[in-house]
């Protein structure tokens, strides 16, 4: 997860990377109490690139100008994001701009130092001059000097730039980060350096042992995902009509491949993923996730078929079938009297043939009221487990049980078309 610029700069300041005097602005009227002399740069704090080009970074000359501009920036969406806070920062006259970054390269399994003597917003220029130094063994400042030298720097700039890189590296290691980037690093006429913009990518797996970062991160995520909610992969299409439910992202990827290949239209794809197995007691209950996922998919108006593909041991499959049965039966009970499902129109349990009768087609075309009153078809692929009695209990509902993945996909697509 990326920190906001002002949060990154707070960490820079802590480790001794020079940053300009600045102040966070929560509301345009805060600018009346500004301690920084004009001209001042106002910067939209959104976790997105391209702020400058979108008009999210503007220089202002006085308080009236600043308040009006701040109002405009608060109301400016950058790639769909509105800022909650602006950063007011001193203006800096840079003669040159560099790009610097320290990243964990997952392929090399090493930290890598990156530097370009062409910093700024023109990515092509930055990339064209990009130099890299792989930190092969324990870090020592010579790696940073090697980068400065490769960037073509001379004289006192070698020391000042490599000093910044060294501090960026320290930050990466101390705070378990994935990326520390300064772009641009401003260089003044007398070779002073200044981090004018900064980006820090936090590693989510390390947040548990970085309490300072965890606090910053929690201010960025609006609603933390509770453990009983399924994960939405968002690989799909709001125009689709098949909801997919799997117990791992890789199984979902394979299931989606099959559905797309057969010209089906997935609407959303949820993952219910406890620990490796369903019968292990763990914090994230897959049973609760499964209930919530079923609710979410069956309540979505355009979803006509829910395809459940859960692959685990027999005991887990039986537990899954049981959860599905109690969910559907309680749902059916609540709806009876409003729009009872006609048993004559529902398929027989355990039979694989399609019952896509004209009656059924018409059922889908009837306009739906605000709250859904009837169930979509459920195609449930369980490869194992003794579920006969559960199947019998659901005989009156539009549920189709399959042991084979290819057949389950074919059935789901035929019911959805």
């Amino acid at each position: 997860m990326d920190l906001l610029e002002y949060q990154a700069k707070a960490l820079f300041r802590e480790i001794g990377i020079p940053v300009l005097p600045s102040q966070c602005i929560d509301h345009p009227r805060d600018l009346k109490q500004l301690d920084i002399p004009y001209p001042v740069v106002l910067k939209s704090q959104v976790p997105k690139g391209g702020r400058g080009r979108a008009g999210g970074i503007r220089t202002v000359e006085n308080t009236i100008d600043a308040i009006a501009t701040a109002r405009a920036i608060f109301n400016l969406s950058i790639l769909g994001k509105y800022p909650n806070v602006l950063l007011a920062e001193s203006h800096y006259d840079a003669e040159q701009e560099f790009y610097l970054a320290v990243i964990l390269d997952y392929t090399l399994r090493r930290p890598v130092l990156l530097g370009s003597c062409q910093g700024g917003i023109h990515v092509e220029n930055v990339m064209a001059q990009m130099q890299r130094v792989v930190v092969e063994e324990d870090f020592s400042p010579f790696y940073a000097r090697r980068l400065a030298f490769k960037m073509g720097l001379q004289g006192d700039l070698i020391e000042s730039v490599s000093d910044i890189v060294q501090k960026m590296y320290q930050l990466l290691i101390q705070k378990d980060l994935d990326l520390v980037e300064i772009n641009p690093l401003g260089v003044s006429a007398n070779h002073e350096v200044m981090a004018l913009d900064g980006k820090i990518a936090v590693n989510d797996h390390a947040l548990g042992r970085q309490s300072e970062l965890a606090n910053l991160a929690s201010s960025l995520t609006h609603t933390p995902q509770p453990a009983d909610q399924p994960t939405d992969l968002q690989w799909t299409d709001s125009q689709g009509n098949i909801g997919i439910l799997c117990n791992s992202p890789c199984l979902a990827a394979a299931t989606l491949d099959l559905v797309y290949k057969a010209k089906g239209k997935p609407a959303s794809c949820l993952i219910v993923d406890g620990y490796a197995s369903w019968d292990v007691p763990s914090a994230a209950s897959p049973v609760q996730q499964l209930q919530n996922a079923l609710q979410q998919l069956t309540d979505t108006q355009n979803i006509q078929v829910v395809l459940v593909n859960i692959l685990s041991n027999e005991a887990a499959s039986e537990a899954v079938a049981e959860v599905i049965a109690s969910y559907l039966l309680s749902k059916d009970e609540n709806n009876s009297g409003v729009s009872a499902v006609d048993p004559a129109k529902t398929p027989t349990t355990g039979k694989l043939h399609s019952r896509d009768s004209p009656n059924r087609r018409r059922r889908h075309l009837t306009p739906k009221s605000l709250s859904r009153t009837e169930l979509p078809h459920l195609v449930i692929r369980l490869a194992n487990g003794k579920i006969d009695t559960i199947q019998d209990r659901l005989a009156a509902l539009p549920v189709h049980w399959m042991g084979n993945l290819d057949q389950a996909v074919a059935q789901a697509i035929s019911l959805a078309s």
Partner: protein, 297 residues
């Protein structure tokens, strides 16, 4: 490296709920679990397995072990693995997931220096059907046979095992390398191990979108592996910006040069096809391709 039922196995983190649960399952499958380690819990016996405070203490009591399976929590996993390396244990099966990448980088440097084989992190381990279970694999999808499976995916591995089993193609061994951004042992390392495994006649590689190294893998198979290899890559339709794996892996790929375009499932498929390695379009196609490859081999 031989995986036999008489291997003596250590379990680190055995008193963790998950460790205890899977230790019982491994033992029930016939795996020779000789000791468990959990600091502060030494002296007790769990599922008939003696528990010790330290790896070295366990080894001095039960003798040398042939492998260790680690269930420690994510921030203790580095320490547990370093303890195992220090005691000279190899292979190490790292079931633990969510280990911070800096810890993994540290661990891999150490493992390389000591020539320790690590599988994982976030691995469901190794199964020799009917004989040996090291980890959390669901054994009911497997049957004994001659097909080796090396996978980089989690649950989808069972879909592949099931397809093979239903086609009467039993498995000699199945190893799950783990599906995280940084994993210890690679397809290449395990292709070498299975190439030397006498029981294995053909090898199935199961991969997903994200990550890299497929060019290297495909080339290595073409040059060095005599046994038939079949590949399957899930995630052909997974949008490129939503790939399985860590976003930082993608940042790293974008910034550090020529690997930028090599992270999609399509690219992996292309790399395999280019070196004439048969690629299954979906799991149920795998058995046909395996049979065909064995026939022509």
């Amino acid at each position: 490296m031989k995986f036999t039922p008489d291997m003596k196995i250590l379990v680190q983190g055995i008193t963790q709920p998950i460790g205890s649960y899977y230790a019982a399952r491994m033992k029930a499958y016939g795996t020779n679990l000789v000791a468990g380690v959990s600091a502060g819990q030494g002296g007790q016996t769990l599922h008939g397995i003696p528990v010790f405070d330290l790896v070295e203490e366990a080894l001095s009591e039960v003798g040398y072990c042939d492998a260790t399976v680690i269930f420690a929590e994510s921030y203790s996993a580095l320490d547990a693995a370093l303890e195992a390396i220090d005691a000279g244990l190899s292979p190490i099966i790292l079931v633990t997931g969510g280990i911070p990448p800096l810890d993994m980088i540290h661990l891999l440097a150490k493992a390389q220096a000591r020539e320790t084989l690590i599988v994982g992190p976030s691995s469901s381990g190794i199964i020799v059907p009917g004989k040996l279970l090291l980890g959390t694999q669901e054994c009911e999808f497997y049957t004994p046979g001659t097909i080796g499976v090396i996978s980089r995916v989690s649950t989808l591995t069972y879909e592949v095992a099931l397809a093979l089993t239903q086609a009467k193609l039993g498995q000699s061994i199945a190893v799950n390398l783990g599906s995280e951004a940084i994993i210890a042992s690679s397809f290449r390392q395990w292709l070498e191990i299975l190439a030397q495994d006498k029981r294995t006649e053909a090898i199935v590689l199961v991969d997903q979108t994200g990550g890299d190294s497929e060019d290297e893998t495909a080339e290595f198979i073409a040059q060095a592996i005599e046994k038939p290899v079949i590949a399957y890559v899930a995630g052909q339709y997974t949008p490129e910006d939503k790939q399985v794996g860590d976003t930082s892996a993608i940042i790293a790929a974008q910034l550090s040069g020529p690997i930028a375009n090599t992270t999609t499932a399509q690219h992996k498929v292309a790399a395999f096809k280019q070196t004439n390695i048969p690629v299954a379009e979906y799991p149920s196609k795998i058995p046909d391709l395996v049979k065909k490859a064995l026939k022509y081999h």
